[in-house]
């Protein structure tokens, strides 16, 4: 179980970094789907597998919803790549800047997390690290862009981190259900925003 949790933490960390760095929306969706595999592994250690399965499915469905919209709206998918490249030009050295910011955030997590374990008693170390990575890199993603697609992915990442912590301290089916509803609705809102964004681009 311990090994599963730590491997989940590693997957979550790598995919979150991938989500922040990738320019291609297809890779982003792939990283997002893999991220939920990591979340699944983290959650299975303290919640029944069915509940962890629900969370995994919710994440995948959210990714599929966003992916389908991007597949059907070519103009948006093109604009995401272009915008990201433009952002990369505006921000100093684009990818390098992001990479160093991520390193700083991870360093802060590594330094602060051991002192913060009292914040949520009973939560395993792997879960705590995984959750801290998701929350901070999700917030970083949200703060670095105004693109609806990236913002929604950032928010979903942030919420996934919060869900890991909250699920471990309060074992409630209602909370899991409501978090799933919020995640799905967020993905649907994201899909709608992408469609409107596409109409704007066409005009």
């Amino acid at each position: 179980m311990e090994l599963l949790s730590w491997s989940g933490m590693v997957i979550v960390g790598l995919t979150s970094i991938g989500l922040l760095i990738s320019h291609n929306w297809r890779y982003s969706i792939l990283f997002f789907a893999l991220q939920y595999v990591g979340i699944f592994l983290l959650i299975t250690s303290y919640r029944p597998i069915e509940i962890a399965g629900v969370i995994l499915l919710t994440g995948w469905v959210s990714g599929i919803v966003l992916g389908f919209v991007l597949l059907s709206e070519q103009s948006v998918s093109l604009s995401i790549s272009t915008d990201t490249e433009q952002e990369a030009q505006i921000l100093p050295s684009g990818k390098t800047f992001r990479f160093f910011t991520i390193c700083l955030v991870l360093l802060a997590i590594w330094a602060l997390t051991p002192n913060m374990e009292t914040l949520a008693p009973g939560v395993g170390q792997a879960q705590f690290y995984g959750s801290a990575i998701l929350i901070s890199l999700g917030m970083l993603q949200v703060s670095l862009t105004t693109q609806p697609f990236r913002v929604i992915l950032g928010l979903l990442t942030f919420l996934a981190g919060a869900e890991i912590i909250y699920d471990s301290i309060e074992n409630s089916v209602l909370i899991t259900g409501l978090f799933s509803v919020v995640n799905l609705c967020l993905a649907l809102v994201g899909a709608y925003l992408l469609i409107i964004h596409s109409t704007e681009i066409k005009q």
């Binding site: 609806p148 913002v151 942030f158 909250y166 909370i175 259900g177 409501l178 978090f179 919020v182 809102v189």
Partner: protein, 466 residues
């Protein structure tokens, strides 16, 4: 039958019907307005917990609705606030046809009211944070639909509200721990910080207020004003309920001082920012910031004084915001802009909309003989007695709002007006505006007419007082 089914599930059902009706505008409009009126009337007709005799039938409306191990509870004490939510919804939906709102405004408005009632009903109260997030998601759809653009305001609104949800949930978890064990200083400070940050994000408090002026600029002003009104109302009640529920929060003078200080900063900030705005929508947002400030000051006061002032401010605010939003919507429809440069001297062509807007603005700043003045007078008096420096800061904020109003009046009354609008004020728009203005005047001259309702609203908190 139980109360949450009546005021949460049924409105959700109506909302789905309204979605299904789609392009049948008139039918949707009639159903939406009449059902919100019906839900309002039911709050005074249906007793909760006592049998209701209809012919040979005896129906008892119970107060709780169990759902996945948690409860939704609406007691008799909650009915006045439900009357306020659904009553104001009826007014906003009623005037929606004039304001060129998107088709989805009616169903989404009804859905919001249902979710907002769920926020008031859910137990433990902290789960309300998740319902607020759901309302946010629905609201973002409405904002984007009405503005036909994915603006920065909508994105920021979504981000700030989403970030607030886990903070409030976590704060609630800590509060649960404090309740079940001996309060520890570390736990108390953790809960306060978590809640504090959550509520700062939730209420749009400086520096997380930037979405307010942005959505007023990007989206349909009527839709954006409706969202600001509803969010301010329910979030402030949510905060007040939580503070009064937990004894240590209620008893902590530091918490009250911090809340009141933030309120004061908001009034000052709202007043100063209003002076420099040249967009009518952004001015509305500045006034909304100031209203949030007043709300926070009343929350920061001892419940015996602050409770009644908190509720006394709600009704005039609801009326002023509705009339103001209507004026903004009419002006935007006619002149396609809310910028000062495009609106010089438009009073000649749109006298009702401009009058409504100015009177609502004056009422919102607490001008004598208007609805906003009577509840502000005792508030100002209490503050002056307490500390003259605070009174001075409050005066600067209020002066800023006054200067802004004078500036708006000058722009809209004087100067060469743009081309005569192709779609001047219609009869319904004039009728709604006149009713709103009369309401503002009536509440200003005879504030005692709402006193019994305010007393009923207060019951919501009195039962929580030790």
């Amino acid at each position: 039958m139980n109360a949450p089914v009546l005021w949460v599930i049924l409105p959700l059902g109506v909302s789905i019907i309204l979605f299904a009706l789609g392009s049948w505008k008139k039918t949707s409009f009639i159903i939406a307005v009449s059902s919100s009126l019906l839900f309002t009337v039911l709050t005074s007709v249906i007793p909760i917990g006592t049998p209701l005799h209809i012919g040979s039938m005896n129906i008892t409306i119970t107060d709780s609705f169990p759902f996945l191990g948690r409860q939704f509870i609406l007691t008799t004490n909650d009915l006045p606030i439900l009357a306020l939510v659904y009553g104001s919804l009826a007014f906003w939906l009623g005037a929606a046809s004039i304001a060129d709102t998107p088709k989805a405004f009616l169903p989404v408005g009804m859905m919001m009211a249902a979710f907002l009632t769920a926020i008031l009903a859910v137990e433990p109260k902290l789960y309300a944070a998740i319902f607020i997030e759901l309302v946010t998601l629905v609201s973002v759809l409405l904002l984007v639909m009405s503005g036909r653009t994915v603006g920065r305001g909508s994105i920021r609104f979504l981000v700030f509200q989403t970030l607030s949800m886990p903070l409030i949930l976590y704060g609630g978890f800590i509060l649960g721990q404090i309740e079940s064990s001996q309060p520890q200083v570390e736990l108390l400070s953790r809960a306060t910080i978590s809640f504090g940050l959550g509520f700062v994000l939730l209420m749009g408090i400086f520096p997380f207020h930037t979405w307010l002026p942005l959505i007023m600029e990007e989206a349909n002003p009527y839709v954006a004003s409706f969202l600001i009104y509803m969010f301010t109302l329910v979030n402030s009640i949510f905060i007040n309920t939580l503070i009064n529920r937990y004894e240590w929060l209620q008893a902590s003078p530091e918490v009250h001082i911090i809340i009141a200080t933030i309120g004061l900063i908001m009034i000052l900030f709202g007043g100063i920012s209003a002076v420099f705005q040249t967009h009518l929508g952004r001015i509305f947002a500045s006034f909304a910031l100031s209203e949030i400030g007043y709300t926070l000051i009343t929350i920061g006061m001892p419940i015996e004084i602050g409770g009644s002032l908190f509720f006394a401010l709600i009704i005039p605010r609801a009326l002023s915001m509705a009339v103001w939003a209507l004026g903004l919507a009419i002006i935007k429809n006619n002149y396609q802009s809310l910028n000062f440069t495009d609106l010089r001297g438009i009073f000649r062509h749109s006298p009702f909309a401009v009058s409504g807007l100015i009177i609502a603005q004056l009422s919102a700043l607490g001008f004598p003989l208007l609805a906003g003045f009577p509840p502000r007078l005792p508030l100002w008096a209490t503050i002056v007695e307490e500390n003259l420096w605070i009174a001075l800061i409050l005066s600067i904020g209020t002066l800023g709002l006054f200067v802004s109003t004078a500036r708006v009046a000058l722009i809209l009354f004087v100067g060469n007006s743009p081309a005569i609008p192709h779609n001047p004020e219609n009869k319904i728009a004039r009728w709604f505006t006149v009713v709103g203005i009369l309401g503002i005047l009536l509440l200003g001259i005879m504030p005692q007419i709402i006193t019994p309702f305010v007393v009923r609203l207060l019951r919501m908190f009195q039962i929580m007082m030790p």
